[in-house]
Symmetry: C2
Subunit: 322 residues, 2 copies
């Protein structure tokens, strides 16, 4: 048993959010923002979790699993799940330091869960298959978050880009991502994923003849986008991001602040820009040529509460040599 | 032969712009902004047109029809067309005073043409069937503007609301429009209809599998909207305006300024808001309950260069008793 640090990347949904709920495909990619989790076995009978981001310490007694509450419960559950797999119960100190903005739809929670399972299992001497790491993190997430799509833990585990369709699972894409960056900008308004998903589905139920073809269009768009991503055809990929954004506007999840950021990015040279995730607030994502990024970032900074520049992250969960 | 004043209303496209170009239906309604045209036969051998809006006088010699140029040519051509129909050539003084903002996509040009044909024929002692007035105005418009859809002259002649499909012509709708208003707000950016139409068609040719279902959705939406308009179901009509706007955003004709106005209207209580016409600039239209109109207008005024409040106009072209 030893002290282990693992890290896993966050993600952005490039195409297909909302439409994915009703069986259309979506594309998500790992981004170069990672969650770092250090796990150290202790002699105690509790899991102690410290989050640097929230400057918060919480303690979870190993023999009172049912009593766990508090913000860090998902982390403790992820570690506990790995312990059960390793068949070794032990006290742990867990230290979390994440570059992924929490609550941003960038998969912060899943990246932490994946890195926690990875580090915990290694700390307990167990070398898990990546698929197993992903599955355990998913199980842990499910305990706390209901029924996630599985996109976030998959991306955090494997990195790169995936196409996903509900009921069919994942295809690993082979994206070419050179000379471009993704710029992410925060509207400053919180997302409310559940509420947005409910509203879109209600609209679809009221006007199926209008909404069904929009979903169909979104599905065709994702198929096209997957090919463009593998060809590195960024110009057309940007155009498809813009179309996808319009479809999200049509189903009612855009806002004034989102539009301001999306159009600011486009006007300043982004190849494409769209809301990412549930909408109603949250982040937008803009695809930019490297040479244009600085201008776009600077323009976005006058309207966004946070601007991040990321690359596609090829590498999924990994042990850090710290 | 006597001095006659006629007037005809402008229009807004409520649903289906752009998609109408490829055979989907559209809905346009006459609005309570009218173009007033006074025609007075003279002893001269020329048509003299004075536009109050442009503070401009232009003269068109009757015996040099081929040499006519200048901004007011469409008016002279409309009058001339009516003269040919009446089989009486005479000098005319024409005075134009329009409430319809020129270049707004609100059919200012067609309303002037319709009122000019109407007033000229009456001044020459000819009582034309409304269908004939509309056709002659269309012929006159065609000489100057290429090949218009025929929506504008139809609305200006008949008033009310129409559903239109290319190749199939018009259906007169029986709209209920009570307790609501339309608020129109100008982005201050000029439209460029030709350029926008070309861009949308180019996008459709590049991505037919993505765009075709969007057009299909837009068509279904118009059928639904026509029923809601005849029922006076404004709540759902507003929702369809929002969806329609998203589809227009998807085909690439929205802008930051358009989105700012659309979302400002919605945030301040509009039942629905969308760009109207070709996009890329121009006006947005918001459907508002009468009680909410003041708040919406006042909010729009901080962003728009012009804000107009209109009703549905039931009456088409008419002789004014002035």
């Amino acid at each position: 048993m030893s002290r282990i640090t693992s890290s896993a990347p966050g993600k952005v949904i490039l195409f297909g959010e909302h439409f994915v709920v009703e069986g259309q495909p979506a594309i998500a990619i790992a981004v170069s923002l990672r969650a770092y989790v250090t796990v150290e076995p202790t002699q105690s009978d509790e899991i102690k979790v410290y989050s640097k981001n929230f400057d918060l310490t919480e303690t979870f007694p190993l023999n009172q699993r049912d009593s766990w509450t508090g913000k860090m419960t998902p982390v403790a559950v992820a570690a506990y799940t790995a312990m059960l797999e390793a068949d070794k119960k032990t006290g742990l100190n867990i230290h979390i330091d994440s570059q992924i903005p929490p609550g941003s739809g960038m998969g912060s929670s899943a990246a932490v869960a994946v890195a926690t399972v990875h580090a915990t299992s290694l700390a307990l001497g167990l070398q898990l298959d990546p698929r197993k790491v992903s599955d355990l993190a998913y199980e842990a997430e499910k305990v706390v978050h209901g029924k996630p799509s599985g996109i976030d833990n998959t991306i955090a585990t494997f990195g790169g880009a995936i196409a996903y369709r509900k009921g069919e699972g994942f295809i690993q894409l082979k994206p070419i991502f050179r000379g471009v960056k993704l710029v992410l900008a925060d509207t400053g308004n919180p997302r409310n994923t559940g509420e947005m998903v409910r509203r879109v589905l209600a609209l679809k139920n009221t006007y199926p003849s209008i909404l069904d073809p929009i979903y169909y269009s979104a599905g065709k768009l994702v198929v096209e986008a997957a090919q463009l991503l593998e060809k590195g055809d960024y110009e057309n990929l940007g155009i498809l991001m813009n179309i996808n954004h319009g479809l999200l506007s049509a189903v009612g999840v855009s806002t004034k602040e989102i539009e301001l950021l999306v159009h600011t990015a486009r006007e300043n040279g982004a190849l494409g820009a769209k809301l990412t995730g549930a909408g109603g607030g949250g982040y937008i994502v803009a695809l930019c040529r490297e040479n244009d990024a600085e201008k776009i970032i600077s323009a976005l900074k006058s309207h966004a509460t946070n601007v991040l520049t990321v690359n596609l992250e090829e590498e999924g969960v990994r042990k850090e040599n710290i």
